[in-house]
């Protein structure tokens, strides 16, 4: 085999691996998942970045040195959804809006798909709380499954495949 042939083979193998590995990673979540807590957890600021894990019957969110736990048995509803966000966000994304010739607007076209996880739970007094998380694609269903297995309730008992198919047609997904 020539050097050219080997290069093409390695290139194809890398491309295939690049396509398959992220999917495999998304489906098998072991350990904490990087998430953004949009709102709802007591004593946690909005848009706090952290990790989420289900262990010992608790939904465990760690943000910096602080952590917040929600008992799975107190969860009344877990719902997953699909959304998208700007690939280039934050301060750079905001500054790019001022770029000449609509450069910032072009950047807005590049969007990354994300999963959302919405949890409704009751506190010790019976008060209802709601928390919303965003996370990498494919991870929300796994967390939902783990929560349900550890005693959480859900009103949408769909199989992951069915759920993902449904989520593509729900209003959750942005209109393109």
């Amino acid at each position: 085999m020539t050097f050219r042939g080997i290069t093409v083979l390695v290139g194809l193998a890398s491309l295939f691996a690049g396509l398959v590995i992220p999917v495999a990673n998304a489906q098998q979540v072991s350990g904490p998942v990087k998430v953004v807590q949009l709102t709802g957890l007591a004593s946690v600021k909005d848009n706090a970045k952290g990790t989420l894990q289900v262990e010992n019957g608790q939904l465990h969110f760690v943000h910096g040195k602080a952590s917040s736990d929600v008992s799975a048995s107190s969860i009344q509803d877990v719902v997953t959804g699909a959304d998208s966000q700007r690939a280039v966000g934050g301060t750079i994304g905001l500054m790019s809006m001022a770029a000449p010739y609509g450069g910032g607007r072009v950047l807005s076209l590049f969007r990354a798909k994300i999963d959302t996880l919405t949890v409704q739970y009751r506190d010790a007094d019976g008060g209802l709380h709601g928390a919303i998380f965003t996370m990498p694609v494919g991870t929300s269903e796994v967390i939902k499954k783990e929560l349900v297995a550890q005693g959480a309730h859900t009103t949408s008992d769909k199989e992951p495949a069915a759920a993902s198919a449904a989520s593509s047609s729900t209003p959750n997904k942005e209109q393109k």
Binding site: L38, T39, G40, D77, V79, G81, S84, Q85, R86, M97, G104, R105, S108, L109, R111, T116, T118, Q120, R122, D123, D125, G126, G127, L128, H129, G130, A131, I132, T170, P171, N172, E174, Q175, K176
Partner: protein, 172 residues
């Protein structure tokens, strides 16, 4: 000549007096605020309109936060047992009447399209169910921000309505 100037002055004075007095009269005609020792916020209902779960939760959480910010020191959540013993409790029931998902991408690319809007019917009742006040409040995001920002806009407006019509012991 002098008489004409005097007449004009009198007319001007009367006109000014009428304009100056109108806001005062309006304030007098304003209905008195309803006493509310505490507010209990029920979960947002959306039976007729299909609303994504994250919007429902964001509406609820933002509403509670904005009510607390607007001077309601005691805001109880849906199902909170402590609310049962409170005198002069006002219960806020919210039902989604309209929802347009919009698109953040369309907003960022075109500026003029892709607005997200939510219309919520807010009903303030006494614990026995007697209606005290009903209003339709909407939340919108037209230019900047994610779709969920519409829930924040709604919450701010709803809290303003509550603040205008209800008085808590501390804010009288």
């Amino acid at each position: 000549m002098m008489k004409r100037i005097l007449n004009a002055e009198i007319r001007l004075f009367l006109l000014t007096a009428v304009f100056a007095a109108s806001p005062l009269l309006a304030q007098k005609n304003k209905p008195a605020k309803i006493k509310a020792a505490a507010l209990q916020v029920e979960m947002i209902q959306s039976d007729e309109i299909k609303l994504p779960a994250e919007f429902q939760v964001a509406l609820y959480e933002n509403l509670i936060r904005q009510l607390e910010k607007n001077g309601f020191s005691h805001v109880y959540r849906d199902g909170d047992r402590n609310a049962a013993s409170v005198a002069e409790l006002v219960v806020l029931h919210s039902t989604v009447r309209g929802f347009k998902a919009g698109s953040e991408k369309a907003r960022q690319v075109t500026t003029v399209s892709g607005a997200t809007s939510i219309t919520v019917h807010c009903q303030f009742t006494s614990p026995d169910g007697t209606s005290l006040l009903e209003r339709d409040v909407n939340g919108k995001v037209r230019f900047f921000g994610g779709n969920l920002k519409a829930t924040y806009d709604f919450a701010k407006k709803a809290a303003h309505v509550a603040n205008e019509n209800f008085s808590t012991p501390g804010t009288e």
